[in-house]
């Protein structure tokens, strides 16, 4: 027998806990140093190991600081592991759910832990990502309950497509579209009301973590759907051990954050004459003692919301489960509006031999009651509640909206209903828009791991939802005939995404190299169906689609099917944990392109090198880690369905028949390509106390499949075409620091900074208008060899020297109908999110500041209020204004000129509103986006209560502070919400529900 076997052995037992939470830690590796002898802790954190005398035990666990313990006299060693300050080996979820250490990645991936999302829980998951990740721009569409938020990573890549990333939940893609916001289908145009982005159906409490795959390189395996990046959501799993029950509730109070200023000096009327012939406020000065009304302030309410979430989870070493139920009732600040959502989830997994079988399922039911905001229902001639509110004269008591017999009280008694301004109270009470959504998201999977070097996973999943939406115009509303007799519009939408995905994975160690290979197949079918029906001219005030003559009932049906299948693969190699390289390839076949064009292949390559491996140990103390990374990738993209042909539509004019669709089809559409290059540097100092991550990227999306508005002489309003390149170049910087790490007091801080510049080239026209968000003198446009997020509009006339031209007679600026001047760029220069977490004993405080520098916001709300004479600006009416410029003398030459004229109604309505630049501000803001203070009851107290493990109390708020140079409402605006494609409507302020400020109280109990 060899001598060493004879050496005396002893058994050491012990328990390992987590230092901060004191929880037992299963799965901890306990190794005898210098040997291969080792074990792992069981479910109760216990281990037992035979070691030599004087052995040293190395106890380690992912995410915790490893410890070395010398075996002493005692045969029991109980120890606790502290959270690692060095997150070099942080593991993130990458494409296809593959977990990777961040240091192996050749591209930037940022992760948000689930508990970060619920500290200040937002009704819309997308809003929770705001400020937390560099390069991610989240725009809330306003303060309506159930309103959408738009998320764009590294600028938009598509001139006319959706620029939002792919959402993947537990391995299957889910739909985050905004239903029917950019078409007037069902009468709801983008500025009629706000809509939900369907990603908000996911309950933040269910989320374990979110990985944000920022560029095409990171998302290459997801293919064409991920050209704009991907949001990979992993939901919670049960942990082995005692069942854990978590109950959390939140009570929230919301107020309107900021209202536009309005004038209270002038009465309803026209041209200085008070009267009720018009709704505008261009009447005489209001005599002293006349009663005026705070219609605007009084309209918005304090809104209460209640959120309750309960979950139970548990398992053993072979199986685990997680179940949750969630309900939220959110009231809107606009009376009568609300949003309610219910979610149920079951996640379960069972392992048997080398098989693991699991499923994730989520059922969501939500209801929303909304109001018309900017425009009324398309074609009816009415106004939304918010627009009418901003127009309403101060001399009229808006609360006086119906008479004793329930009829509408007209603002303009002599006008036809269609020429009247509908009272906002009438609109919210009588003309609601309601929708309810049933949604199921589920997937099942089987993992097979027959050997250490090979495993395979098959997953099939479905995302299915039904939305039923109804918009009502009550008889007697201020709209055109025949709508004035009552109108009901109903829409039923069904969407279904079926996914099947198979991957096989092999890995092998060859000398100093670790090699791995992956191959996969994906199939996806998306079906969509919409049934729409409308009844106008109701026979009585019984509000049913049945209550109208057949002539007044219309219905239509739309359905589409899209299929896509792909093969993909990845080869990766690493050398000594120091150099990493990975190559991917994917080929897609899409049903939306012609046979010749439907198959397309695209590759990616990425690599990283951990420079710090070469550092001497001396240096490592201070400069602990450094890595450089680089990647290049290409992603193809197919067309939306049915764009390869022109269709004919049935008409309702006399004799019926057909007409051409106003979309011109194009049989020759080819896939578009996004090509991206990314370079990055990741550095950690002082054992991870300070970290800096820098990324530079350059992304080009070429041969875009777009449907721009074109010259009407084509016979089409929109034409499907392949042209245009969008280039996004930008930098991202993440700075993390742990300035204070003491036992009782810790301060973690991180700063996310990003700058992006989106430009457009290779378009045949000088300006590209993809989607129409045009209100007043400006509209959103992409500019050739200029900005992607541009604004064009009308300007006052200027001489070639740039001097303002003043009319020689009137002294007033000269307006022009040319609306193609470049007047703005809505892209911010810099967006910054600054997170701070303070822990003191049982208290923790989180503060998220959000800073934005630059980026134009167009105040179209103000143009409308100036026109209506309700804007504060118009208080200067009757006062003189002096302007400097040039005017034409009798010889036809420009001579410098100074003129003084009176600002009258004509000036405000026709001259001032004909200069877009007056309404455009380069906006900066500094806001305390969210703050939360929480307190965990001492363990001792919990123990005294008994069955309770933890009780946390929290007080949190959103938008508590806002400093901005913007003169309208909260400048985080988007007139058409997230459904506006391409350059979108962010930065356009138009009669939306103003943003809110909220305070909430939360209670969280773990059993």
């Amino acid at each position: 027998m060899p001598a060493e076997v004879l050496a005396q052995k002893r058994t050491i037992t012990g328990v390992v806990r987590e230092e901060t939470t004191n929880e037992l830690l299963p799965g901890v590796t306990v190794l005898e140093k210098g040997t291969t002898n080792g074990t792992i802790t069981n479910i109760n954190g216990e281990f037992s190991i035979n070691v030599k005398e004087d052995a040293i035990l190395v106890v380690s666990f992912v995410g915790l600081e490893a410890k070395e313990v010398k075996v002493g006299q005692s045969s029991t060693i109980n120890l606790s592991l502290a959270p690692s300050s060095e997150q070099v080996d942080e593991v993130v979820v990458t494409a296809m759910g593959i977990k990777r250490e961040t240091k192996a990645l050749g591209y930037a991936v940022q992760k948000v832990a689930g508990d970060e999302l619920v500290k200040v829980k937002q009704p819309n998951l997308v809003n929770s990502l705001n400020g937390k990740i560099a390069g991610v721009n989240v725009t809330n569409s306003g303060g309506g309950a159930g309103a959408s938020s738009k998320i764009v990573i590294r600028g938009g890549t598509s001139l006319s497509g959706d620029n939002q990333p792919l959402f993947v939940v537990d391995g299957i893609p889910i739909d985050n579209s905004t239903v029917s916001a950019n078409t007037s289908s069902g009468g709801l145009s983008a500025t009629s009301t706000y809509q939900a982005n369907r990603g908000m159906d996911i309950n933040s409490d269910d989320i374990e973590s979110i990985s944000v795959l920022k560029g095409p390189a990171a998302a290459a395996l997801y293919g064409l759907k991920a050209a704009a990046g991907a949001i990979i959501i992993t939901t919670k799993k049960g942990e082995s051990g005692q069942p854990k029950i978590v109950l959390s509730t939140k009570l929230k109070m919301e107020h309107v954050n900021k209202l536009p200023e309005y004038q209270k000096k002038y009465a309803q009327g026209d041209n200085g004459v008070t009267g009720d012939g018009t709704y505008t406020s261009w009447g005489a000065a209001i005599p002293d003692g006349t009663q005026t009304y705070e219609n605007l302030e009084d309209f918005f309410e304090t809104a209460w919301s209640y959120d309750v979430n309960a979950s139970i989870s548990g398992g053993n070493e072979h199986a685990n489960y997680y179940m949750s139920v969630h309900r939220m009732d959110q009231n809107g600040i606009v009376p009568t509006t609300n949003y309610t959502t219910n979610s149920f989830r079951f996640n379960g997994e069972q392992q048997k031999g080398w098989f693991t079988v699991g499923m994730n399922s989520n059922y969501i039911y939500s209801e929303t009651t909304k109001t018309l905001t900017g425009s009324g229902l398309s074609g009816t001639g009415g106004y939304g509640a918010i627009m009418a509110l901003l127009y309403w004269p101060v001399t009229n008591n808006m609360k006086n909206w119906k008479n004793s017999s329930g009829e509408r009280i007209a603002l303009l008694p002599n006008a036809d209903p269609e020429d009247d301004l509908g009272n906002p109270y009438w609109v919210i009470n009588k003309n609601p828009i309601t929708d309810n959504t049933h949604r199921f998201i589920g997937s099942g999977y089987v993992k097979m791991s027959p050997t250490k070097w090979l495993d395979a996973t098959y997953r099939a999943g479905i995302d299915h939802y039904n939305i039923f939406q109804r918009a009502i115009i009550y008889p007697g509303s201020a709209v055109k005939e025949p709508y004035v007799d009552g109108t009901i519009t109903e829409k039923e939408i069904q969407k279904n995404i079926f996914t099947s995905n198979f991957t096989i994975n092999a890995r092998q160690k060859v000398g100093a190299f670790n090699l791995s290979a992956l191959a996969g197949h994906n199939y996806e079918q998306t079906t969509y169906r919409k049934n729409q029906q409308q009844a106008a001219g109701l026979l009585s005030n019984f509000m049913s689609i049945n209550n109208a003559n057949a002539d007044n009932q219309t219905f239509s049906n739309y359905e589409s099917t899209k299929r896509l299948y792909s093969f993909y693969g990845e080869l990766s190699a690493s050398w000594k944990n120091m150099a990493f390289v990975s190559v991917t390839g994917r080929n897609d076949w899409s049903s939306t392109l012609s046979e010749e064009n439907r198959s397309f292949f695209y590759p990616s390559v990425s690599g990283s090198f951990v420079v710090s491996e070469l550092f001497p140990d001396m240096l490592k103390d201070k400069f602990s880690f450094a890595k450089i990374r680089a990647s290049w990738s290409q992603v193809g993209k197919d067309a939306p369905v049915y764009q390869t042909a022109t269709y004919v539509n049935v008409v309702s004019t006399i004799g019926g028949g057909y007409k051409n669709s106003y979309y011109g089809g194009n049989p020759d559409l080819k896939p578009e390509t996004t090509e991206s290059m990314e370079l990055g540097l990741d550095m950690r100092f002082f054992k991870g106390r300070l970290g800096l991550d820098l990324t530079y990227y350059d992304t080009k999306s070429k041969d875009q499949i777009i449907n721009p508005r074109v010259s009407m002489t084509t016979g089409y309003i929109f034409q499907y075409a392949n042209f245009g390149t969008v280039t996004n170049k930008g930098i991202e910087c993440t700075l993390t620091a742990k300035p204070i790490v003491k036992k009782n007091f810790q301060w973690n801080t991180s700063l996310n900074l990003s700058h992006n510049e989106g430009t457009v080239t290779d378009i045949p026209v000088s300006l590209l208008y993809v989607d129409d968000v045009q209100i007043g003198p400006a509209k959103s446009a992409s500019i050739k060899n200029g900005k992607f997020l541009g604004l064009t509009g009308q300007r006052w006339e200027h001489s070639d020297d740039g001097e303002l031209i003043l009319d020689a007679d009137s002294g007033r600026p000269i307006t022009s109908t040319d609306a193609t001047n470049i007047v703005g760029n809505r892209e911010p220069d810099l967006i910054m999110g600054w997170n701070n977490d303070f822990h003191y004993k049982n208290f923790s405080l989180s503060l998220l500041f959000d800073i934005r520098v630059g980026g134009d916001v167009y105040n179209a709300t103000e143009t409308q209020m100036v026109y209506a004479g309700t804007s504060k600006t118009t208080e200067n009416r009757g006062k003189d204004i002096t302007m400097k410029g040039v005017s034409v003398n009798s010889d036809g030459e420009y001579v410098s000129s100074t003129s003084t004229f009176t600002q009258d109604q004509e000036y405000y309505q026709n001259i001032l509103t004909a200069d877009a630049s007056y309404f455009i501000t380069s906006v900066n803001w500094f806001r305390l986006r969210s703050a939360s203070l929480s307190y965990s009851l001492p363990k001792a107290l919990c123990n005294r209560i008994g069955f309770v493990k933890n009780i946390d109390l929290s007080l949190s708020g959103t938008n508590l502070l806002l400093f901005t140079n913007y003169n309208g409402v909260d400048p985080e605006v988007s007139a058409g919400g997230s459904g506006i494609l391409g350059a979108g409507s962010s930065g356009i302020d138009y009669a939306g529900v103003p943003a809110t400020r909220s305070v909430s109280f939360g209670l969280n109990i773990t059993f």
Partner: protein
């Protein structure tokens, strides 16, 4: 190895689930809409949209020509239009409706009809193309004719001279096709023809009428027989082959019911805010000079009330007590007209002495009921053209005959009782002798007859409004007596007294979506709208 074998067996099993997926990718043909429509299924819509684009054009020109006014609302489209300001895309519908709804479908119809030998549809398509392109080029001065509806998203534009050189021969082509026998299998014109019920003879007459009208637009060009000359004999020849009576009129009647797209076009376009224009009202009441009374012997100052007033001008509504209830009834007074010499903040919506032009139960008007007609060309118009041609040729007695026949045809069409029309024709409001007859007599009567028809504006430009030799307003020398520049005319584009509107602002679709090309045409220059269309320039 056994495990690996099992794994691959499983992979095989899973592969079956792939094959269970449907891999057919040839599914990109929409199940929601057809891609083909035979000619008889396109024609009804083409006819409706011809009426829509032309009638909506007419609503706008009625405002420019002071037939209709608008209540004071300084940022509203029609208020601005009456002051010759083209914001709010005032003209957009005309351009959009012609290209996007009418012409594109005509082109598709012609193509499909050619394939099946349905020559009558080809003929109808061609004559409507000539008619529509003519109307568009007359208003805008430029249009994408060669590049129109052919897939070019950055078209070049053609001027009126070029377009006229194409559409005049197109009228002849149309006639040839209408005279041709259709292939046996081709669908009959009557299947889709809502206007003439498949009567090709009437369509041929319509084609001659279109040609006569277009040729008459060249009145400022030198006389001669070339294609682009002012060919008086040619016009008369075409009139001769065109409509023979009111029965031949190209009329489109609206349909009652709640489907608003089937209502008469002026019903669809009007709101209660559109009021009568003062000039139009004065022409109907023959009270042009109400201030100086210096011209009392002129027809248009004869104070003879035109019997068509009842069909055209709404009456003021007053309250009356019937059985103890206050109800609204018609008074005997007619609505006031919007006076552009003074109106700025007037009238307000609350001024009940200005009554809207949209028909109501009390004020039933000829053009603005749901079931009203709209005309592209009428027999009466041809008679007015005939009168004008004879007048210009100096054959005044033939002119007088045509002039009276035109008024009679108009009266008949409006349904004026024979005795009333006879009285009117014999009154001082109508020229009775050839020596008395002036161009103003003809054109002012035509102005009334063609209310809401864009042709009125073309005539006013051809006849130079009421302008004297120095280019400014001159009552004595002018044709359209009393027509003045609006007091609140859009000064930027019309700064001096001799600036009159001579064409529409270029449609905003082109200004936005094809800016590079239209900039060259000068559309962003302030004098764009005062520059005459080709035929409006004296030769």
């Amino acid at each position: 190895m056994k495990k690996i074998a099992i794994l691959f067996t499983l992979i095989l099993v899973i592969s079956f689930s792939f094959t269970a997926c449907d891999y057919d990718l040839d599914i990109n043909s929409s199940p929601n809409a057809a891609q083909e429509a035979s000619p008889e299924l396109r024609l009804p819509y083409i006819l409706a949209e011809c009426c829509d684009f032309y009638g909506s054009h007419g609503t706008r020109t009625a405002t420019l020509c002071q037939q209709a006014g608008y209540i004071y609302a300084s940022a509203y489209r029609y208020y601005q239009l009456e002051n010759w300001k083209f914001t709010n895309n005032a003209d957009a519908w005309v351009w959009q409706c012609w290209y996007g709804y009418t012409w594109i479908n005509i082109e598709e119809m012609i193509e499909d009809a050619t394939d099946m030998g349905a020559w009558h549809y080809v003929g109808v398509g061609k004559i409507l193309t000539a008619f529509g392109c003519g109307a568009i080029i007359d208003a805008y001065g430029y249009m994408a004719y060669q590049d129109g509806v052919n897939g070019n998203i950055q078209p070049d534009y053609d001027d009126a001279e070029y377009v006229y050189s194409q559409i005049l021969p197109l009228c002849d082509e149309a006639i040839e096709y209408l005279q041709k026998e259709q292939d046996a299998s081709a669908v009959a014109l009557s299947e889709g023809d809502y206007v003439y019920k498949g009567d090709t003879e009437k369509w041929i007459k319509f084609a001659y009428a279109v040609k006569a009208r277009l040729m008459n637009h060249l009145s400022k060009k030198s006389e001669g027989t070339d294609l682009l000359n002012y060919n008086t004999e040619g016009i008369l020849e075409n009139i001769d082959k065109a409509f023979a009576s009111n029965d031949d009129d190209w009329a489109y009647w609206g349909e009652d019911g709640d489907v608003s797209s089937r209502w008469a076009i002026q019903r669809q376009n009007m709101s209660s805010y559109n009021k009568p224009g003062k000039l139009w009202r004065d022409y109907l009441f023959n009270t042009v000079d109400t201030v100086a009374q210096a011209y009392a012997d002129e027809s248009w100052n004869s104070k003879v009330a035109d019997p068509r007033i009842e069909m055209l001008v709404p009456k003021i509504i007053k309250d009356a007590v019937v059985d103890g209830d206050t109800v609204e009834v018609l008074s005997s007074d007619y609505s006031k007209g919007v006076d552009l010499a003074y109106a700025d903040s007037k009238p307000q919506a609350s001024d009940t002495t200005y009554v809207g032009l949209k028909s109501t139960d009390l004020n039933k008007l000829y053009y603005t009921q749901k079931t009203s007609p709209y005309f592209l060309i009428t027999y009466s118009e041809l008679k007015f053209i005939e009168a004008e041609v004879y007048f210009r040729k100096g054959q005044t007695s033939l002119a007088l005959t045509a002039y009276k026949a035109a008024i009679q045809a108009s009266m008949d069409r409006f349904g004026v009782a024979a005795n009333k029309s006879a009285d009117f024709l014999a009154s001082a409001a109508v020229a009775q002798t050839a020596s008395e007859l002036t161009l103003s007599h003809i054109m002012i009567q035509k102005y009334i007859d063609l209310t809401y028809n864009p042709e009125v504006w073309t005539d006013m430009r051809r006849c130079d409004y009421c302008i004297g030799s120095d280019g400014t307003y001159n009552y004595d020398a002018g044709v359209y007596k009393g027509f003045k520049r609006p007091a609140f005319v859009y000064e930027t584009a019309f700064p001096s007294d001799d600036d009159y509107i001579r064409r529409y602002q270029m449609a905003y679709y082109e200004r936005y979506y094809n800016a590079d090309k239209v900039t060259e045409l000068g559309v962003f220059e302030n004098d764009y709208m005062t520059t005459p269309v080709w035929w409006d320039k004296d030769e």
